[in-house]
Symmetry: C2
């Protein structure tokens, strides 16, 4: 990039590996003692009545804590009476902008097209993180999607999770949470879920995910404690995590992402219309995959990762995924990262500096339903 | 992105607008008084003899200063005797990994294929910045490509620039400096130059740039003080800045980038071969463009930028480039960013949070040679 002409300096600090991160998060952030009762101003509240018919805009107010003042989160209510009740959330992670932009783009369409039921849209659930282009809020360094159901007297992320859990979630039957892989990965748009113990809810969830008609519908395994997903599913409700893409947030990527969410809304019956497979360039595919914890290949050392395959490539065991160059390229040979099993490349780290244990690639395979 | 599963937390701080950055850079970094003479250990040096024939690997050692110890920069010399003398540099900016990876990929090919002349490859000129995934070195916060020709007793970036200027540049006739637009922009691979006062050198430079056969050959206007480009051109030598892409660093993007640099090396006669237009997906074009300072549209306010066009789109005056959403989407309407003139979209900000005066888009138009 040319110097001085385009603004916006990024200062980046890595806190790795993830295990460490988690330790930091549980030891360092400010903690607040619940005092048993909360005054009105300390309670989360909505600035408007969700039961009002029609279109209503307002805020979910996260109350003041010792770490920062009250935080108003924009919420839009589209109440067309009886029917499915859907909550669309976005911006939980501050380096994933596809969700907030797509959530905003849905509004005019829904105002025009919604025929029944209720849709709540909360397009920016983590504004302090979004302002910092950072996954976590710089205020408490916690991952908002690790602290659900939150704590009413906790830090800003915990208070936010608590406000959403108490005031938005009870009013809906289903949640679409809009994420992306952020700027450090390459991946196709995917509607995803973690495996769910309740087989009936798992089936319903996968069916709903498939309704996005994204190139990939994915069930992936991994730790789920403190996730919004887990809370919603524990209440027997369908939760689809839409991973809307990665890398640069382009007009093309946004159009595909928006089309996918519209498909799911149409499938729910909230809008009458015809669903179509959105066709991202070079991704005319529709796969249902599963990815296990063992499918995640992590970096064996510090170095510069060079991807040598592409997302959606089919690999055999031993095929080259990428190279890990030593930081001093004359000190030793590059380490070859190879596929552990016959698989499909589901997401791939961008070519950049990585630390030991950083994720490099998610492999996946067809899920037999 | 899923939580806790893939490591690598990014903490990002914005220092905007660019004008401010420059103020910070000139006031805050440590400054060192030149003491007139330098002892041997304080002098930059090469660990090997560039005049040795054949393939030689070693280091350009940037001497110890008060801000950090000596920094060895890897350098490879491919000396096949008489012929063009080319320096390939990469990794001047630490959030642009296409260059370092492509520079490493060229080595095996050149060892096999080079028939004459000399090639010097310095794949990682700014290792402390590359380790931090940050444009600037975190040690002195200076932009290495703003401090040429450097100062032998300055901060780490200034000492690096000085070492390159003194020990590498005098041994070559031409420089290819490998950059990219980094993770915050979308742009096609482009071989670029700033306008040069010397018409003959400008013609030679544009011809060399065109030899990459990238989708775009670009002459762009802008401040050039302290740039490596300016120093090299002031010595009457050809300097091509290859902007190898943007966003995620994928295998496809790397293949195109490498093919372009190989084309230019073949055109120089260092390697015998046939050049071909690399064909990035959806970018089967070969344009020679110019972009003026007035073609750079910057953000009129803080907000979330939503791109509404794509790179290489042709725009008429007034066409929509993107929307700037207020941070509170209920507070006011989105600001429409529109093309100032009939133009071609050369590079475009990714959808993300931007500050006032941040660059949003570079427009360009055909350059009449």
């Amino acid at each position: 990039m040319p110097d001085g002409v385009i603004g916006g300096e990024i200062i980046v600090a890595f806190v790795n590996p993830p295990a460490k991160l988690h330790t930091v998060a549980t030891i360092n952030p400010p903690r607040f003692i619940d005092n048993g009762t909360l005054s009105m101003s300390q309670k989360p509240h909505l600035t408007f009545d969700l039961d009002e018919p029609g279109v209503n805009k307002g805020y979910l107010v996260v109350p003041t804590g010792t770490d920062r003042e009250a935080l108003p989160l924009p919420v839009l209510s589209l109440n067309k009476g009886e029917g499915p009740r859907l909550l669309i959330t976005a911006g939980i992670h501050g380096d994933e902008f596809e969700g907030p932009i797509v959530a905003l783009r849905l509004i005019d369409w829904l105002i025009e097209a919604q025929t029944c039921g209720r849709v709540l849209i909360a397009p920016m659930l983590n504004p302090t993180a979004l302002e910092a282009w950072s996954r976590r809020s710089p205020v408490d360094r916690l991952d908002l999607n690790r602290v659900f159901p939150g704590r009413p007297n906790g830090s800003i992320s915990e208070r936010t999770a608590s406000a959403v859990s108490e005031l938005l979630l009870p009013t809906v039957d289903m949640v679409f949470d809009l994420h992306s892989f952020g700027p450090k990965f390459d991946c196709p748009p995917a509607a995803t879920t973690h495996p769910i113990g309740d087989a009936d809810l798992m089936r319903k969830t996968l069916n709903m995910a498939a309704a996005f008609k994204f190139p990939v519908t994915l069930a992936w395994d991994g730790p789920t404690q403190g996730m919004f997903d887990t809370l919603v599913q524990s209440q027997g409700k369908v939760f689809v995590c839409a991973e809307l893409g990665s890398g640069t947030v382009s007009a093309d990527a946004l159009a595909v992402a928006e089309a996918g969410v519209r498909n799911a809304i149409i499938e729910l019956g909230l809008v009458e219309g015809k669903t179509e497979y959105p066709t991202p360039r070079q991704m005319k595919t529709n796969l249902t995959l599963e990815s296990l914890t063992s499918d995640q290949l992590t970096s064996p050392a510090r170095g510069i990762f060079e991807p040598r395959c592409s997302v959606l490539d089919e690999l055999s065991e031993g095929d080259l995924v990428g190279l890990l160059h030593p930081l001093d390229p004359w000190s030793s040979k590059a380490i070859e990262i190879r596929a552990s099993t016959t698989s499909i490349v589901c997401s791939l780290r961008t070519g950049m500096q990585v630390d030991v244990n950083d994720g490099l690639v998610y492999l996946a395979r067809p899920l037999n339903l």
